[in-house]
Amino acid sequence: MESRQKNRYEIRLAGMGGQGLILAGIILAEAATIFDGKNAVQSQSYGPESRGGASRAEVIISPEDVEIDYPKVTTPDMLLVMSREAMERYGHELKPDGIIIIDSTYVHKPEKATGKIISIPVTELTKEKFGKTIVANIVALGIIVEITGIVSKDSLEKAVIKRVPRGTEELNKSALELGYFLAREKMNTIN
């Protein structure tokens, strides 16, 4: 049981349609499988529309490359919430030592949350830095990887470059850097 659990790191990315969370999930899974030599499964659930509505992506990573049987998240080790609805729905579903990253642009009072709470206004700071929110998902990925180290930064960057539109590589790399920076800054204040 113990060994199986250790080999199964469950990540849930929850928010609204249009925030690019499914793409973020795919990038994370590709960083793990294609570039890091780990095993991973990615899945998602859509809201009724492809934009707006609730959106949820899940990634299960097996760091030691064992087979992943059940492909869905049961209780996440890491939860990213980027909307109030997602906070209410998923905020309390977390492992006791789990990490929850909250985009405080949308969620101000994480009262229901359990686990280690890291609250950063991801979307707001993305807008501040780049003048647009489109790469907020990539910034969030940077934060997740800086904090959890679940994939290497090198693999993450390769996976991002593979998936983003041509011509936006530098923007997305900067977005990752912003994510790393925000996470480090936050961790320093916590510690």
Partner: protein
Amino acid sequence: MKKEYKLLQGNEACVEGALMAGVSFFGGYPITPSTEIAESLASRLPLTGGKFIQMEDEIGSIAAVLGASLTGAKAMTATSGPGFSLMQELIGFACITEIPCVIVNVQRLGPSTGGPTSPAQGDMLQARWGTHGDHNLIALCPTSIEETFYHTIKCFNLAEEYMVPVILLMDEVIGHMRERIKIPDQKELMIINRQQPSMPPEEYLPYRADERGVAVLANFGKGYRYHVTGLIHDETGFPTNDPKETSKLIRRINYKIENAKDKLLDFQKDNTEDAELIIFAYGSTARSALRSAHEAREQGMKVGTFIPKTIWPFPEKAIFELAEKVKTIMVCEMNLGQLVYEVERAVKGKARVELLSKASGELITPKDIMKKVVEVYN
């Protein structure tokens, strides 16, 4: 060259498998959660010289597929519940005329429009019995992205080998989730192509079956001018009312599959040797079953799993053999109980059969299964 992993959706893996098997025609109609198959083939087929057409509905789709197949094309369609229902009449047409084709059904919650993005396994019996009259066909059910790739190739191979429609029963979870896969070189794979007649056209009888009971249909346009009809026909292919010929045809199209059963069956047994309880599960549900079986073992319960990969024909002999050794067979399915009837039939009272059903539009979880295992173990 060293093969690298790719991260693919089940629907994408199905497309890769189809292309590897040599698909050259796709006729379909958009429907969630199968649409990515059509979208991807619309883009990929022209690159290989193949043809894609979005038909006006699913009846037209399967009709176009069968028409294309008669010219020798490896032809397929992909759909989900509502579209699969519409295709039923022509699936029977394909059975009686022995036109090979592959039909992918990415199952969603039904009946009717049901839950377009919700997984279900509600079409298991429809796949076998959905069209009218005595007929037989083959259906496979993958549990992973890699299996979806290989099963799709196998579907084409079996369709061409047995001149029969072959159904790939996926579900929304398998269709949409992503896993890693190494795509092999085509030369590493066995690809079966359709038999063609060797005799001169004047001696050719399209429905004079070979020793396996399988018709040898010449590709249209190749000089063998014969007749294909959905009516009862004799070996010439023309309609007949003769009761003897009628019975001969109906039996042959059924028994050609039945007689090949040993070759067709594919299933996975894990930890069944000392098991007291066997979890029977298929498709995405099998993934939950594997997890639960491990957990049960860790808790000291002797639990094994039986995962059928070929659903039709059904592996009744293998299940009967298990039933003689175990106390309980627990069937887990994302419906209110479909293959459980087949399991009960196969078990012949030799073991207790329990059902864990879920029809909420959600995948059965390992927790659901564990709860039931604890309940029925003793």
